[in-house]
């Protein structure tokens, strides 16, 4: 019995090391396969041998005796299962650390881009200054999306009310103290893929408003996001985007949103976040 346990333990440790090595050298998806394969083959061999022995000796042992005789056979699969779980958890933790590191790098890089624009923002030519300020606002939209989608530590849909209000505050020369420019229907949350173009459209409208239309004193809120149906939304702004870059950028963003312009005052866009629904 002791010899059998020792032999099983040695083989279990060997298999565990092998499984660990496989897990270490393989990617997460691949490393699922190999330890499980070892586990299944080992378990099959052990069960076959055990059943064969039990059948041979069945006449001479009680059920309790059989369990005591063969309980060491359980060591190997449990060791393998432990090794597999341990390696899987280690890999998951490692991957989480990599993801956190990547997000950290992305945010740092966005800060560098913003700082570069900021350093250039003192340009003497008004057009260049305005272009740099617009570029900073667009970078800010992406930065906010990055921050807000990871607020809870894991990627999550973005609370559009907080997101769009923060964008309006960033774009506003007074930091958003002049009243709430944005109204969002309660609890609209979108994935960054849709939230970012939506945010960029709002930023564009606000930029145009402060550049050309602030004197018009449009009533607040200037921009609204409302639900039209399941996965369908309407983004409407009292600000008309002028022909040129703003309008071209808007067309690209509308395309990403599976959306279309709706005739009306200002800029009205209906869009759908359902991938299967196709463009509106």
């Amino acid at each position: 019995m002791i010899l059998a346990v020792a032999a099983n333990a040695v083989s279990a440790v060997s298999f565990a090391m092998l499984a660990g090595l496989c897990a270490y050298f393989m990617g997460f998806r691949r490393h699922l396969v190999f330890p499980l394969l070892f586990l299944l083959i080992s378990a099959a061999v052990i069960v076959a041998v055990s059943v064969s022995n039990i059948l041979e000796r069945a006449a001479h042992f009680t059920l309790v005796d059989r369990f005591e005789e063969y309980q060491e056979c359980l060591i190997l699969p449990f060791m393998l299962l432990f090794a597999y779980s341990w390696s899987a958890v280690s890999h998951l933790r490692l991957n989480e650390e990599y993801v956190a590191l990547l997000h950290h790098r992305v945010k740092n890089d966005l800060q560098i881009v913003d700082s570069l624009f900021e350093l250039e923002a003192g340009a003497e030519e008004p057009d260049a200054r305005a272009a740099l300020q617009s570029a900073r606002a667009r970078v800010a939209v992406i930065s906010l999306a990055e921050q807000m989608s990871l607020e809870g530590g894991i990627p999550a849909p973005i609370d559009m009310a907080a997101f769009l209000s923060a964008i309006a505050s960033r774009v506003a020369p007074d930091g958003g103290t002049g009243g709430n420019a944005i109204e969002v229907e309660a609890d609209i949350r979108l994935e960054p893929y849709f939230a970012i173009p939506c945010g960029l459209l709002v930023a564009e409208a606000e930029l145009v408003f402060y550049a050309t239309g602030a004197a018009l004193s449009l009533p607040l809120p200037r921009t609204r996001l409302a639900t039209l149906g399941k996965g369908r939304y309407r983004l409407s702004s009292a600000v008309s985007l002028p022909a040129g870059f703003s309008s071209e950028l808007a067309d690209v963003l509308i395309y990403q949103l599976n959306g279309r312009r709706v005739e009306g005052q200002g800029t009205v866009i209906d869009f759908s976040v359902g991938a299967t629904e196709g463009p509106l």
């Binding site: 956190a100 997000h103 950290h104 790098r105 945010k107 740092n108 966005l110 800060q111 560098i112 913003d114 700082s115 570069l116 900021e118 350093l119 970078v139 800010a140 930065s143 921050q147 990871l150 607020e151 530590g153 505050s169 960033r170 930091g175 958003g176």
Partner: protein
Amino acid sequence: MKGARVLIVEDEAIVAFALRVKLESWGYIATSIERCGAAAIAAFDRDRPDCALLDIFLADSVDGIEVARHIANNSPVPFVFLTASQDGPTRERALAARPAGIVPKPYSDSSLRTVLERIFRTDADIV
């Protein structure tokens, strides 16, 4: 508080330089820019600024939280973390140092300015 002296601890040169320009445009004085934790501690002891803006991950093995602990243990000077890090353990360590604020990167002008104004308004109230 116009003319308040601020230590900048940031390992990204462009970010640090833009931060200094920004602070100076708001009326603050940047005592120095440090990219390493050890140099930041030395600069703090030397210059005794009114406030410190600290990145967490720096160019050497002494991170911004250790710099913050040094500041907290040796003075009542408030400090603010400017960090891109959102992971739980780092955030817990940062909060344990009792900062006057944590401003996530990439930060807006208004978020940074609000924190600084709050710090110096509070200080003025105490005085």
